[in-house]
Symmetry: C2
Subunit: 252 residues, 2 copies
């Protein structure tokens, strides 16, 4: 029952798009999936067509509410969501003074783990306390990297943070995979980023997610790419990613 | 000497690209510009070809170092930078307990204001204490919105936060403009986002920044779009934005 944090402090690299569509692809292959929205922007929540303000959110769970009470079904059979809302932004400051401040999320979801084959956590674009909670609760980190920006510099910072969490808070944490997203074969930069990322990170998935208008549109309709445009290159890419993800898990 | 915060908690919408290239366009039209990198990712710093680890950064300034000592020249004549580095990520928690926690940046840069025609602050993708410091120090907010995602929901949250800052911390704060970025005329979603944003926000600039490979590449070379590809659609768009920005300032 591994917990996978989808994290990268760089904004707009495809964390939410990956969490939603990998989650849905795994659910469509028969796995029981829980997606946790760990970002006050609550894009995973709205991207699945749910309203953030529902009965219970991750903010309530961090405050002590039972996580099972806050989990909700989505339109994708087999994919459940622990939603987020704006008030999650307050959690960083509120948690800052408590002794278990990085461990809260892990402790709250411990009871849930046996009910799912995988739990994915969509992280906010920062390395603050919310993301530290996700990394402390996780077994693996999936790092989306967009192909438009030579963002290797930021990856070093993320790798350092993962190392520190593994050393002080969560010894079982490891980098599960690096995923190249928004790949545009027409540009030299995209090709260069792919080369550099593969050279620096051996855990880089073979699957590369292409830049695809359909994929970019889907969250505006509150639908996964499989509901919005099932035959599109984006849908094919996330199906291939799910297969590669499962093959790695079976080997792990 | 207005201070302009370039802010949107949604990641990857073009905040840094706008801060760098609007700053450079204004400098090339003869204005004296200071760009403050307010993001621990320090993309504005690396995007201008500077190394974040230099003598003084915004982290030192928030800790009491004189801001003037930390300002550095860039390759663009007339454009100076107050750089950031990773350790800025620690400022959020460190500032949380001090009584002037939102006002630190404004107080530190007060002495600098008379030396520049405009000060731009590139914000992190969050509404945490760093962005609150930028909003408290600013006279106007420039909000980039990408055309690929119907992110109006997030804009409401940002507008609420700006309202609260104006009410409690900085009465002169107002929304200076909303900038549509990464526009791709081939997609319906782009056209729809433009329509919706213009309808909701009368302050939306007429200038729209197109999605352009050259613009995406420039920061990887540590150069502005004017150095990297001066005749590209991206360079033209940011020149047009600078003209429109100045026209609004003259009317203000
Ligand atoms: N492969 C793709 N092709 C085209 N558009 C994409 C692709 N992946 C994501 N997008 C779009 O790019 C934008 C950023 O993606 P997304 O919101 O998933 O990134 P994120 O890393 O979660 O952002 P944040 O840092 O704000 O959490 C969204 O508008 C999304 O719809
Ligand atoms: N108009 C454009 N056309 C093509 N690519 C662009 C455009 N504007 C920005 N980009 C690219 O998109 C990515 C996101 O842009 P940028 O880093 O400026 O966004 P940001 O809002 O500052 O992100 P963050 O939330 O991480 O601070 C970068 O790789 C940048 O080079
Ligand atoms: Mg996201
Ligand atoms: Mg930025």
């Amino acid at each position: 029952m591994p917990v996978v944090a989808v994290a990268n402090q760089k904004g707009g690299v495809g964390k939410t798009t990956t969490a939603i569509n990998l989650g849905a692809a795994l659910a469509r292959s028969g796995r029981r999936i829980l997606l946790i929205d760990g970002d006050p922007q609550s894009n995973a929540t709205s991207g699945l067509g749910l309203a953030p303000g529902a009965p219970g959110t991750i903010y309530d769970v961090l405050g002590g509410a039972p996580a099972a009470d806050c989990v909700r079904p989505t339109d994708e059979p087999g994919l459940s969501l622990l939603p987020a809302s704006r008030d999650l932004a307050g959690a960083e400051v509120e948690l800052a003074e408590s002794p278990d401040r990085e461990r809260r999320l892990g402790a709250s979801i411990a009871m849930l783990r046996s009910g799912y084959d995988f739990i994915l956590i969509d992280c906010a674009p920062s390395l603050g306390l919310l993301t530290l909670n996700a990394l402390t609760a996780a077994d693996r980190v999936l790092i989306p990297v967009q192909c438009e920006y030579l963002a290797l510099e930021g990856l070093g910072h993320l790798a350092d943070t993962i190392g520190r969490v593994a050393e002080w808070l969560n010894p079982s944490l490891e980098v599960g995979g690096v995923l190249l997203t928004m790949f545009d074969p027409r540009t030299n930069l995209s090709q260069e980023v792919v080369r550099q990322v593969r050279a620096h990170f051996p855990q880089t998935y073979t699957t590369v997610i292409p830049r695809s208008v359909r994929l970019g549109e889907a969250p505006s309709f509150g639908r996964t790419v499989f509901e919005h445009a099932p035959a599109s290159p984006g849908a094919d890419a996330y199906r291939a990613l799910a297969r590669e993800f499962l093959a790695r898990e079976e080997r792990a």
